[in-house]
Symmetry: C2
Subunit: 165 residues, 2 copies
DNA sequence: TTAAAGCTTCCCATAATGGCAAGGTCAAGG
DNA sequence: CCTTGACCTTGCCATTATGGGAAGCTTTAA
């Protein structure tokens, strides 16, 4: 049993985020000492590591909630996990394509910009009046705020089906 | 001269965002009718189109603010514009690399998952205890919330050096 | 005993966008 | 002249995941 600071250090998840995850119900409420300090077991730390790793792989908290449910379900079908993972990969690929289109368009424009002291600049010219040439599919991101938004996130997570039961 | 709805329609920027851009000082305060309605000229719409296009190319509002300054500066050096564009491209490329690392890791894991009714799943196994194999550089995004965070954004923009002067 | 380090909760901020609500305005039609 | 509907205004709330900071209590080491 350790305090939140230790759990943070061992899991790689900041204390701040651990409290946040508890608050939104991604992890169950930690047991408290008499003074109100949260206490974590190495099992809890294990869960946190899982979460950390999933975050590193770009899963949203919402998706991690689902992953945790599957993780704890001894009768899960690996197909469900795979489907979740692949749908996330699809989201990543879509985002990558979008960013690549932007980068490509910009690089194309930059290639034609002398980049000297003179004011004439095809980059600004294109921003002012887009030429069909560079118009690819960078327009209308359809449903992409700036990224990170792959899942709409229902409301409150309340899965907390993690370790402690 | 047109109302905000028309300007929105012609520029592709929502009325909501036009007000927002005005509020943060990206564009100058619109002139108002006696009743308080904002009015826009086709020149204003032109600025808004510029902004819209820049957003489509992934520039942050902060960066767009700089682009607008350059756009309006007859004595700009195209090198400054190019530098700004290329630094943004670098940010995009970095993000792309990060997402690709995630996607690749996940695809690799998914490849080894049967995806059937059985519970054994290498994806969950890896999330639980990462194996060096898939550990590439997906860890520690260094300074990347979820994306969009390329520029720290000082405080308030207050450039408003756009059209109307 | 005291100081430092750690914990708690609460509030604020981020980037860019949408939604909703209450209320004023304007134009067209009766 | 009045109503209706479309449009405008402001203001507030929500989103995602994360960090910062303050005020106050606890624990620990000296």
């Amino acid at each position: 049993m350790m305090n939140i600071g230790q759990a943070a250090k061992f899991s790689g998840v900041s204390a701040k985020m651990i409290r946040y995850y508890e608050q939104i119900g991604l992890i169950p409420k930690a047991i408290r000492s008499d003074a109100g300090y949260r206490h974590y077991s190495s099992l809890d730390v294990h869960s946190l590591r899982f979460i950390r790793r999933a975050r590193d792989l770009g899963f949203s908290v919402e998706q991690i909630s689902e992953l945790l449910v599957l993780w704890c379900d001894r009768d899960r079908a690996s197909g469900d996990v795979k489907a979740l993972a692949l749908s996330h990969v699809a989201g990543l690929r879509a985002k990558i394509a979008e960013l690549q289109a932007m980068a490509q368009t910009l690089e194309h424009l930059a290639d034609h910009c002398h980049g000297n002291e003179r004011p004439d600049c095809p980059i600004l010219a294109d921003l002012a009046e887009p030429t069909a040439a560079a118009q690819q599919r960078s327009q209308a991101p359809l449903r992409t705020p700036r990224f990170g938004g792959d899942t709409p996130a229902s409301s409150r997570i309340r899965a907390a089906t993690a370790t402690r039961s």
